[in-house]
């Protein structure tokens, strides 16, 4: 029995029936990371020592039947832009290489009550800006399916960790596809919940109106378990929502929309085929299928690359060397701040700060940021209209399979295009999931994305789980171990 391939529910059952113990699972995780980390560099830090103690305590709870829930003793990997008290939060930036958080993110406080174990912090593109995890100040992460390829990004470390089984599941953050795209590249489930359904408190902000924490996992059920543990209203986050979930219809009562604009030029044939495969399944199951058009989707990358950089230009202003993190001295306070920011940030981060600062500048605001806000609003309206006639929208998650490391590093625009299918859900605040559907001719995973209207997260997960069963795509990457 390979423990590391099991689902959270299966592991919990084994713990309860005393067929295995959390500490045994943890030592397998630990042994795995000892070999996988060298090949992949999924983690930036591993919390080995504290975890042995935590796993033993979990053992005790199970032996006394005092275990608290499905996540008790389950090792999860945490993206290194989520604060865990007394641990480093580096955001893969030189700027924060020495920053130890004095507080927990709300998601961590919630997982703490579930007695979850954290394997450590995972690699990301610096401040979550990127689609390949190559923009890390601490070295890139590799794709477990084939180490020549990127794992996607920005939550590439979390995805590589789950795919290589150095964690059972992971938390990522998704601003324009940073959970779904790496999940798709690594053959995993990646779920970006409705904006506001998971607290952002303690997630280092990239673009506040788009950021959302969510799970990356081997199965939809694992994603659901993690999501239900971390979601819920939080009084520390003003954008946190406090509404009931809405239930969507199933099977012949449900209508599926195929997004026309995401099945056109710029999408590889292989990616389109995966969508067609899913559609065939749905047809057989009796779902109503129709093609729908959301013309503004074509503008989503333009809108996104004004709004996200504008927000990030202000969000990242606090990294100035004054109170924490890197400090590079100068003759005056201002010189110190300038030197710190010049040395602390990587190129992609600087590029976006410059873009955003420009877009907000006097005289340019209306032309750029203001226009992007108006277009975003129109896109939200477009989605609302479509959701009156469709329950779920289907598209590829990514235009192509994973690309090779180094392939797009010198072409930021091409890199930005890899988020074409995922960005619209962030702009409209929709729940969206990527589920693995099969392998490309290069033996790399492909996935499809399903979106639904806000607050239908649970229905979306149920629907995806149904598809997951029909697709029967369960495979374990072995490329990294060769």
């Amino acid at each position: 029995m390979e423990l590391l391939n099991l689902s959270i529910r299966e592991l919990n059952k084994l713990f309860i029936t005393k067929k295995t113990k959390p500490s045994e699972l943890y030592s397998e995780i630990f042994n795995r990371s000892a070999s996988s980390e060298a090949a992949l560099h999924a983690h930036l830090s591993l919390f080995e020592e504290t975890n042995l103690v935590k796993a033993k305590k979990s053992d005790e709870r199970f032996s006394k039947s005092e275990n608290v829930g499905l996540l008790d003793g389950i090792p999860l990997a945490i993206k290194d832009n989520i604060n865990i008290k007394d641990e480093k939060t580096t955001c893969s930036s030189k700027m924060l290489s020495n920053f130890v958080s004095p507080y927990n993110a709300t998601v961590i406080s919630k997982l703490d009550t579930e007695q979850t174990i954290y394997t450590g912090k995972t690699n990301l593109d610096e401040f979550a800006m990127g689609s390949s995890t190559e923009n890390s100040a601490f070295g890139l992460t590799r794709n477990p399916w084939n180490t020549d390829y990127v794992p996607g990004g920005s939550s590439g470390g979390s995805a590589a960790s789950v795919a290589s089984r150095s964690s059972i599941a992971a938390l990522g953050s998704d601003t324009g596809g940073s959970i779904r795209q790496p999940a798709s590249f690594c053959g995993l489930v990646g779920f970006k919940p409705t904006y506001g359904s998971v607290s952002r408190y303690g997630l280092v902000a990239f673009a506040s109106s788009l950021d959302q924490i969510g799970p990356i996992s081997k199965s939809v059920d694992d994603a659901r378990i993690v999501y239900s543990a971390i979601s819920g209203h939080d009084s520390l986050d003003s954008t946190s929502i406090n509404y009931e979930q809405i239930e969507l219809p199933f099977e012949k009562n449900a209508t599926i929309g195929i997004v026309k604009e995401l099945m056109e030029d710029g999408i590889s044939e292989e990616s389109k085929k995966e969508v067609e495969k899913v559609i065939d399944i749905l047809k057989l199951k009796g779902y109503n299928i129709k093609e729908v058009s959301l013309p503004l989707i074509k503008l989503s990358i333009s809108i996104y690359y004004l709004i996200a950089p504008a927000e990030c230009s202000a969000n990242l202003a606090r990294f100035d060397g004054v109170r924490y993190g890197l400090r590079v001295d100068g003759k005056t306070s201002y010189e110190m701040m300038e030197n710190t920011r010049a040395e602390g940030f990587g190129n992609e981060v600087k590029r976006r700060i410059l873009l955003g600062t420009y877009a907000l500048s006097a005289g340019y605001y209306d032309e750029y940021y203001g226009k992007a806000l108006r277009a975003r609003k129109k896109m939200v309206d477009e989605f609302s209209t479509i959701f009156k006639e469709c329950d779920y929208l289907i598209s590829p998650t990514t235009p192509t399979e994973a690309f090779k490391a180094g392939e797009k590093t010198n072409n930021p625009l091409e890199m930005y295009m890899s988020d074409l299918c995922t960005i619209p859900a962030n702009l409209a605040g929709l729940p969206a999931i990527s589920i693995p559907t099969g392998l490309s001719s290069n033996n790399l995973p492909l996935g499809v994305q399903i979106m639904s209207k806000p607050l239908t997260d649970n229905s979306l997960l149920d629907f995806s789980e149904m598809l997951e069963k029909e697709l029967e795509f369960y495979s374990t990457p072995e490329g990294w171990s060769k």
Partner: protein
């Protein structure tokens, strides 16, 4: 060249909420630096702001009290600029949708009412405090110490239109605004503690011009005195520049308290593009009619209303203005005393002059609990009825503050009651006349000033108990003067 100055004032008032604007840190008055902090007010990575409802209530209260129209759908904006004491390097503020707009404030100068138009009333969060060592300026400091206790304390900013004409008017405006904040109980209003801080925009233009001159912003005035002097200095500086044909540069100038001059602040702080945009961490704020009406219904009596109540008692506008800005107990004492005596001038003078003077002399901040407002009314009435002299009244008041007794007891104990019985007084007067025939002779020969000597003799022989007015009257009658 005839020139006229125009002044606009931006005032920040620190709100006396229990907790900060966007976090749950308690607002504590302490000298110890950096003890009152959390991830949010220290701008740690990942921390988020949650607006303080009470602060919004207070700002709405001030906006309503200044007659502003309320923006029901408000927004928080980020004002971007780098400064070491600004933890996020942006300040959460309000931009195009402030809580209140287009109000006005009644002020009194030179015994006349005037109105200062208010452009806007909006929320801002306070910054930390910088101490630049080696020089007062960030660019030339050898080191800078930072205290973030103040960071995130809610402020309300009140911006006037450019309508103020003199330093005197500016001072009257600040005094009125301060009193308003105190009446609304949204701030302690202590200038020395920085509860109220103000910047002035000053321009000078030819009197006949319809356009304003180039605006210069003056910062670092921390008292009403420095506000007055800085404005006067700046008007003089700009006027003589214009008279010499020089051009005024739009800039920010720093008031130097010791040199009593303004100097140019040519630094990065001055020329910023703040790149305002709606803060994505905070949803739009909706002030419901219910919320607004509830505040409206609970508005306390405002300073200008208090002033009106005072003038209705017959008190002059200037005195009413002084009383309306006094502590609440003094204001209330006035009405109690006035209601008993119906003498507005005497009530005002005895309270603001004698009573407060005595209290200052004795260095006490509040009246002892045995001191009844009736005591003061009794003293005023005794004087009005010629039963005691004004001087005796002061003696009685002084004792009343220091011991638990009544005006009557003191007057009896110290024998301060004046003899008002005409027959009894006549008897003494005639005795004095008989004993001073030579003086009487000289008075009759025209030496009027000796009347006073005679009155003095009369009062002396009575042991000071005779009312001097009556003594003089009877003396005059007896001597057929």
């Amino acid at each position: 060249m005839n020139l006229k100055p125009t002044i606009g004032i931006e005032t920040h008032i620190e709100l006396n909420t229990n907790t900060k604007m966007f976090c749950r840190c308690r607002v504590v008055d302490t000298e110890e630096p950096n003890v009152n902090l959390c991830p949010t007010c220290l701008g740690l990575p990942g921390a988020l702001p949650v607006p303080n409802e009470k602060a919004i209530r207070y700002i709405t209260l001030l906006a309503l009290a200044t007659g502003c129209s309320i923006t029901k759908k408000g927004m928080f904006h980020r004002k971007n600029y780098f400064y070491p004491d600004l933890p996020k390097n942006y300040q959460i503020s309000q931009f195009d949708l402030p809580v209140g707009e287009n109000g006005n404030l009644e002020i009194v100068i030179d015994n006349e009412k005037d109105y200062v138009e208010i452009e806007r009333v909006h929320m801002e969060e306070d910054t930390g405090k910088s101490s630049h060592e080696g020089s007062g300026r960030i660019d030339s400091a050898t080191s800078t110490s930072l205290d973030f206790n103040r960071s995130g304390i809610p402020l309300v900013e009140i911006v006037t239109k450019p309508v103020i004409k003199s330093s005197k008017e500016a001072v009257a405006y600040i005094e009125e605004l301060r009193q308003l904040a105190i009446e609304l109980e949204i701030s302690e209003g202590k200038l020395e503690k920085g509860n109220l801080r103000f910047d002035a925009n000053i321009s000078v233009a030819p009197s006949e011009s319809n356009e304003l001159g180039t605006k210069v912003e003056i910062k670092n005035m921390n008292s009403l005195r420095s506000l007055e002097r800085a404005i006067d200095f700046e008007i003089k500086r700009q006027s003589s520049a214009l008279e010499n044909g020089d051009i005024i540069i739009q800039e920010t100038r720093h008031w130097d308290e010791s040199k009593e001059t303004t100097t140019s602040m040519r630094s990065k702080e001055g020329s910023a593009d703040y790149r305002y945009f709606s803060d994505p961490d905070i949803p739009n704020m909706v002030l419901t009619d219910e919320f607004i009406n509830q505040i409206k219904e609970n508005l306390p009596s405002l300073p200008h209303e208090n002033r009106n109540k005072l003038t209705e008692t017959g008190l002059g506008l200037s005195d009413s203005n002084v009383l309306s800005k006094s502590e609440k107990w003094i204001f209330e004492l006035y009405f109690e005393v006035f209601n008993n005596t119906k003498d507005s001038k005497a009530s005002f003078n005895w309270i603001t002059g004698e009573l407060q003077g005595q209290m200052r002399k004795l260095e006490i901040k509040s009246l002892p609990n045995w001191f009844s407002p009736n005591f003061l009314s009794d003293v005023i009435k005794l004087i009005d009825e010629n039963k005691i002299s004004f001087t005796s009244g002061k003696v009685i008041l002084e004792e009343l503050i220091q011991m638990d007794t009544t005006p009557d007891e003191i007057a009896k104990r110290l024998d301060l009651y004046q003899e008002n019985d005409e027959v009894a007084i006549s008897k003494i007067v005639n005795e004095i006349i008989d004993n001073n025939q030579d003086i009487v002779e000289r008075i009759k020969n025209g030496e009027d000033k000796l009347v006073g000597f005679m009155v003095g003799q009369i009062i002396k022989s009575s042991g000071g108990s005779i009312n001097p007015g009556m003594a003089k009257e009877i003396l005059s009658k007896e001597l057929n003067l």
